[in-house]
C-alpha cells in the first residue's frame, strides 16, 4: 500500500479507500471468521471494522500502515468477543471437505479456533502475515518482551490443538 493511496484515503477519496478495502478485506474477514465461525456474523464484523478504519483514517499519523490496520482490527475483534461471550463457543463447521489442502486448512482453523483470541491472532499475524516483533508490539500495544512470551505460549497451544492430531 503506497503513501499516495493512504493520503488520498485519509482525505476521503473513495477510490483509494476501495483499494485499501480490496487489499485487506479477505484477511480481516478471515480473522473474524476464525472467531465467529459464521459467515454472516463475520461479514458484519468485517463491515464494522472497515467503517471504523475509514472513520479513523484522519488519526493515522504515518508509520506502519499495516500494523495500524491490524491494531484496529484486533482491538475490535477482542472487544466484540468480550461483549459477546457466546461467540467464543465453537459453532459446528459445516464446510464440505474436498481436497487435502482444504482439510489441512480446516484443521489449522480448528486449532486456532480453540486458542484464546490474543494468542491465535498473534500467531496468524506472525506466521501468515509476517509481522515482526516491533510491528506486533505496536498492534497489540504491549512491550516486545510480552510479545516474545505470548508467542511461546501461542506456539505451545497451537502444538497442543493441531499437533495433537497431526503431529
Amino acid at each position: 500500500m503506497n503513501n499516495v493511496t493512504i493520503e488520498m484515503a485519509k482525505r476521503g477519496d473513495k477510490k483509494a479507500q476501495e483499494q485499501i478495502y480490496i487489499e485487506y478485506k479477505d484477511k480481516i474477514y478471515t480473522f473474524c471468521f476464525f472467531r465467529l465461525n459464521n459467515r454472516d456474523d463475520a461479514e458484519d464484523l468485517t463491515q464494522d471494522i472497515f467503517i471504523k478504519i475509514f472513520k479513523s483514517m484522519a488519526t493515522f499519523k504515518g508509520g506502519n500502515f499495516k500494523a495500524w490496520i491490524y491494531r484496529i482490527t484486533i482491538n475490535h475483534i477482542l472487544n466484540t468477543m468480550m461483549r459477546r461471550k457466546d461467540f467464543t463457543e465453537l459453532r459446528k463447521n459445516t464446510a464440505v471437505l474436498r481436497e487435502k489442502d482444504v482439510i489441512e486448512t480446516l484443521d489449522i482453523e480448528r486449532a486456532l479456533n480453540k486458542m484464546p483470541e490474543k494468542f491465535s491472532l498473534l500467531l496468524i499475524l506472525r506466521e501468515k502475515e509476517g509481522l515482526n516483533y516491533k510491528e506486533l508490539s505496536s498492534v497489540f500495544a504491549v512491550p516486545i518482551g510480552t510479545i516474545k512470551s505470548r508467542l511461546v505460549k501461542a506456539r505451545e497451544l497451537f502444538k497442543k490443538f493441531y499437533g495433537g492430531k497431526n503431529g
Binding site: K14, Q17, E18, Y21, I22, K25, D26, K27, Y29, T30, F33, R39, A42, E43, T46, Q47, F50, I51, F54, D101, E104, T105, I108, E109, L112, L123, I124, R126, E127, K128, N132, Y133, K148, S149, L151, V152, A154, R155, E156, F158, K159, Y162, G163, G167
Partner: protein
C-alpha cells in the same frame, strides 16, 4: 530455565535474534532443546492457511448519498394528484369574504 530457552528458540524461529550460531549449536547438542525446537516449528504450518474470501462489495460500507430531490418530487406529485382529485368539489366553494359581504350579519337578522 525452560521458559528462557523457549523464548530464545521462538525468537530464533522468527529470525529475531543475533545469536544464531549459539542457538544452532544448542539445538544440535542438546536433545531436550531439539525436542522443544521441533514442537515450536509446528506453528509454521499456519503459512499454509488460506484466506477465506468474502463477496461483500465495497459499496456495502459506504452509506448511499441521499437524493434530496426525490422527496421534493414525490411531495409535488402528491400535491398535484390531491388537487386534481379535490378540484371538482372545491371549485364551487365561494370565497368566505363573498359570503360575508352578501349575507346579513347575525345582529342584522336579530333586528
Amino acid at each position: 530455565m525452560d521458559k528462557n530457552i523457549k523464548i530464545i528458540l521462538s525468537s530464533y524461529i522468527d529470525g529475531e535474534t543475533d545469536d544464531t550460531d549459539k542457538i544452532e549449536k544448542m539445538i544440535k547438542e542438546d536433545k531436550r532443546v531439539k525436542e522443544i525446537y521441533k514442537d515450536m516449528l509446528c506453528s509454521k504450518i499456519i503459512k499454509k492457511l488460506k484466506y477465506r474470501s468474502t463477496p461483500m462489495p465495497f459499496d456495502a460500507l459506504v452509506p448511499q448519498k441521499r437524493n434530496i430531490f426525490q422527496p421534493i418530487i414525490i411531495t409535488a406529485i402528491a400535491v398535484l394528484i390531491a388537487f386534481f382529485i379535490l378540484y371538482p368539489s372545491i371549485r364551487n366553494i365561494k370565497p368566505i369574504y363573498e359570503i360575508i359581504k352578501n349575507s346579513n350579519t347575525y345582529s342584522e337578522v336579530l333586528r
